[in-house]
Symmetry: D2
Subunit: 303 residues, 4 copies
């Protein structure tokens, strides 16, 4: 089936899920988003972009940013980050603090909060400004110079962030932060507060489907580095439902509590879906259904 | 690179790892295997089989059997097994009993021991003889009518199996076994005691690379069912190192403590490697290195 | 206040709690007990026994038996049992299997199920018949030759005992059982199935208030051994509510799911209360209230 | 045996343990203390004080302060603190963060760090200056107006305190702190940095052996409140070795990483021992041996 047709049918198939579940509620600016919005975009490696629904409405990317932060660190110094972060699924949120403690301050993977703090910390050391470096990458890959973070979201997260602070201090107690705790947290919440559309995110992630080659033809990552980031996304990208996501969708992907999901189809393209209401797994309910349907119709899957 | 050449070079690249680590030691018949053996076989969907090293020596398949047991159950009744078993990575062995307890007797995935006991229990209910059903499948797919289990291995496992008994009784306490505990354990250890060569296992698993089609052209699984089993292998097939395995090798795979690893390259073929000495992750050290090298040389990877 | 008066007033104070909560339900013979029964007995070191309510009705002693099993083992070989069992509070049931696993098969204390299995196993090795040895002690100390176990209760427990079997097999996997798993379980459930009255239990436990001296004037335990068993009762005797029990009652005590609680007041006497309905902590709700009131009125407390 | 004689013999019996183990090393000012110091003091309810060894050398009281903070809060508002803190043994340090998380921010007991932070927070709300209130109590009970905290120790703890910060932020994430995180931590480390001698501490704690009556004859706590604090000390006062401590010593006690241990013998007196080298349980090795011997010789035990 043509991509455009598969996209349209997936959108229709997932429509009944829109609004099921609830937007993230821990900060007001996420909780107040209209839950009935729903958009999809697919960017192909050949240059085409197909969109449907609210694909040009900006939303809070939240944890989707973690893939790009990781890419920037790997681009700068290849595999060194793995000395400080593992790449195994965490097996559940219930023990995240316990796990970090038992594993002596080495987070399970770069996509759980503890791991993302370490990656952000490293990017901060490498660039002197992690969130600016990330924003610049997003602007360049998406071709939109006005991509930026939402200061209200960032500030809300800082204020609601006792749990993030607990995690960061625990990392620091194991000497796994190079920069001051408050600075790392500040950079971290700023990155998560980036506001982008489905179209922009799909374009921004295209290097992951193109063996590491950026929009301008230059290389951000080697083919091997790119495959490896995709592998980590597949096993760890959707929190505690990575196994179920692989079973249903079969693609490397990263979700965020803003309701977005970015999925990579190596050598083919990148899909980004967004709908704010989250299902029990913490990922967008409609987004998950849409990706499930899209891979069925398009046969874009890695398995 | 040609498959044959990639296989040869991978064999050479991994040779220094042969004998590193130690064979499984919990039962004498595994502990006494010569650790310097090393074989590889690749069966292509087009019918060709390439082998190198000790690819025609039989070894104890152990947990590799779990993929085939699962396939038989899914073939018989599609997705029903997922009501009794989840499909998420377990996040580590340290909490396997805790996890089973906290999740009210529903194992994390079909490849940890608790999950495999449930799958075996279901196959036993469906067939009246789980281990015979599995052996028959192995014989038919490998084309070797003398494939069989090693009664000495099976008996040793029964005797060493207090931990397996603890797990099975815990499952029973949550009403997640249909058959008597002792019967399930007996079927389970018998399956694990199957003795096969790399060549035979690669051929036996070929339906996983062929969208579910068996050696005789009949269909065991639908394409969708096959993709899903491959997805579960990728996220859960190599114990607590599934994330690292995906990062390094990038293929759905299942390892066993006998030193074998079976890896599926969808639409292309199946690789089976074997060398008895196990690395820290519990999978064959040389086997892991060989698959890592093979996917690099052949570019057979899903990412 | 006189003991008799304190006993009467405690009985009245606790009366409103009788029937609150529910009897243990995991086996029919416990679940069907009339929850409105309530008895108390206090045996003084000076020989007097005071009773009130259903103090002469037999009930299933269940875990109260564990104190006596431990006493017999300590009497036979002093402190050797502590090489196989620790004496720390477990900190909660949720992790009992995890804890046993992390602590390499050494149970936290002799009063959780895992620990009691080890103590029973040792008594079995020492006597060749653990449950008979325990019954004999109970008969001699209570002065009632017809004290016996209830075979229906014992059989029910065996049948409902997958969780106990899981625990025993886990102990065996760590070589912390000397006798066959099934034999240990059989002895264990038989001990728990002893049927006794409040009066009989208070008399049977009197050696714990008398520095180890038995009813016939002979010595079962040294003064030091007795104090130590009392200390373990205080820190570990009431499951996960040992801290709250010490706070409220302030006495070494052991409760059982049959609704009985045995409490020791060193150098003064032993109290036994019974009412089948269990509160949220797994101990008799009315029994707990009665002991709380009794220690307040009598000023019999260790603090 | 006379107290003075029991004290002298206990001192001699424990002498070989002096210097065994190591002083706490997480901050320089504790690590650099001469490990060969050893003092004991016993204050009797009848007014006498007996001392031996380095009983008049000041040391860092650390967690011993937690008993007094709790007493001040209970004195001010009786049992209300138990709505925010439980009173059960924690069952081990390994899961302290997990436990706090699973129990929704309610610490297991007032003597683990998380619980002490909550008690300090409450005292801060009640007094506007928790550490000053505590210092005043210590001065008045010990009769020494120059008792004070060591600012170097307090500052070191603040700097080394990422783990304490993690705990405090986790409490705050569950709304279980009333004051700002940094303020609570500051008060907490200041209290722990109090510097006192064995003699001063034994005198300061005497109200715990006198049913709540202070040095000046006024009442700090009711008899019931005092018994209850003693009960919590017995079940939770010596970290993860409370069970073993009760077994060996049989007294309510609180230890600190400065090497001090305070033990209460209700209606008789208070013992304080100090020697900086800590054994595997985190309490003073010589101090533990000395208390074990002292209770044996004096027969001052609660059991």
């Amino acid at each position: 089936m043509e991509i455009e047709e598969a996209l349209r049918r997936a959108y229709e198939a997932a429509a009944p899920e829109v609004g099921r579940g609830r937007p993230a509620e821990y900060i007001p600016s996420l909780a107040s988003v209209d839950p009935d919005q729903f958009g999809m975009a697919v960017a192909s490696v050949d240059g085409g972009v197909h969109v449907v629904g609210d694909a040009d409405t900006r939303f809070s990317v939240q944890s989707i940013s973690k893939v790009f932060t990781l890419a920037l660190v790997v681009a700068a110094e290849d595999a060194r980050i793995w000395e400080r972060v593992s790449r195994e699924p965490s097996g559940g949120p219930f023990n995240s603090l316990l796990q970090l403690d038992q594993e002596l301050g080495r987070p399970r993977n770069p996509f759980i909060n503890a791991g993302a703090l370490v990656v952000t910390d490293r990017l901060q050391s490498l660039t002197g400004g992690a969130s600016v470096a990330l924003r610049d990458l997003m602007r360049e890959e998406s071709g939109r110079a006005d991509v930026d973070w939402d200061p209200v979201v960032a500030k809300s997260e800082l204020e609601a962030g006792h749990r993030t602070s607990a995690m960061a201090h625990l990392l620091a107690s194991y000497d796994n932060l190079e920069n001051p705790v408050d600075q790392v947290i500040d950079q971290y919440v700023t990155q998560c507060a980036l506001s982008m559309t489905c179209r922009e995110l799909a374009l921004a992630g295209l290097f992951l489907a193109r063996d590491g080659v950026r929009a301008d033809g230059s290389r951000l990552l080697s083919a091997r580095q790119t495959k490896r980031i995709n592998a980590v996304m597949l096993t760890c990208g959707t929190y505690d439902s990575a196994g179920d996501f692989a079973y249903r969708v079969g693609l490397p992907a990263k979700s965020g509590v803003g309701g977005g999901i970015l999925a990579v189809i190596p050598d083919r393209g990148v899909a980004c879906v967004w709908s704010p209401a989250l299902g029990p797994s913490g990922s967008s309910a409609a987004g998950l259904a849409a990706l499930d349907a899209f891979t069925t119709y398009s046969d874009w899957t890695v398995f």
